[in-house]
């Protein structure tokens, strides 16, 4: 239940972030990051558990999240071909947001 809550909060917060800061790219970004969250669901849940139990550090958790984005871009490269791939700088903001949301939820739960 807690895991599902984290993913739902992530989705909602990301929606707000995209609507606020990346208006022009909104439809594509929302689609991309929903797909990202959906494809990464199991891993995100597992990493969140490991992170909250202290088995992964903040840096390790961040490293894994970024590796998941890199894997997603490899999958896209395979599927869509080079011309359609745009490596964006937005990725770091999104990663920071995901980490912040997960950290906040964990801190709230501990309190």
């Amino acid at each position: 239940m807690e895991k599902e809550k984290i993913l739902e909060t992530l989705k909602a917060e990301l929606k707000v972030l995209i609507a606020k800061n990346y208006k022009d790219l909104k439809p594509q970004l929302e689609k991309d990051f929903n797909a990202f969250l959906e494809a990464s669901k199991e891993k995100l849940e597992r990493w969140t558990v490991l992170y909250s139990s202290g088995n992964l550090t903040n840096e390790e958790f961040e490293w894994l999240l970024k590796s998941q984005l890199d894997l997603t871009s490899l999958q896209a490269l395979q599927a869509a071909g080079i011309s359609k791939i745009k490596l964006n700088t937005i990725k770091n903001n999104i990663i920071e947001m995901i980490i912040k949301i997960i950290t906040d939820i964990i801190i709230l739960r501990i309190k």
Binding site: R46, L64, Q68, L71, I82
Partner: protein, 156 residues
């Protein structure tokens, strides 16, 4: 004589069309060497990452040997025609600034040792990237076979 010429003409046209389609998709043919080498490197990588709980300095030689093998394969992939996608995937895997294989080695070097949980999770991520490369190579084989079958079927 005439029907034979027209049949032959249609066959040639279709063949030209197919060759042109192959060109426009710009996909290299399946390569047994790339396929075998990628599997070999995947296994070596997995064994090496398992050692990441021991100091980087103790494994430095082995890491450099693996990196050299990877660089050789990347050079091979780079020079194959219509092979941009495989080449880009290999470059990503070997990019220090990304969080895949080269990024893992960089992290290991900085920390000297890695934690058990991180080794397990990051190894899964890196091996998944190798799997994508292997699957992509296999896909090329299927495409080559399909194209060949189309030509054979048209001939009959």
């Amino acid at each position: 004589m005439k029907p034979f010429i027209s049949k032959y003409f249609i066959f040639l046209l279709t063949l030209l069309f197919l060759l042109n389609s192959c060109n426009s998709t710009r996909t290299a043919l399946f390569d047994q060497y790339s396929y075998e080498k990628t599997i070999e490197l995947k296994v070596e990588t997995a064994n090496l990452i398992n050692k990441a709980s021991t100091p980087y300095s103790c494994n430095k030689q082995e890491i450099e040997n693996l990196r050299l093998k990877i660089e050789k394969l990347i050079e091979y992939e780079k020079n194959k025609p219509y092979n941009e996608i495989s080449f880009e995937m290999w470059k990503a895997l070997n990019d220090n600034e990304r969080n895949l294989l080269a990024g893992f080695f960089k992290d290991w070097e900085q920390k000297e040792t890695e934690s058990k949980s991180f080794i397990i999770e990051s190894k899964n991520q890196i091996l998944e990237a190798f799997d994508l490369l292997i699957q992509y190579e296999i896909k090329k084989d299927k495409e080559s076979k399909d194209n060949l079958l189309q030509i054979i079927n048209l001939k009959n």
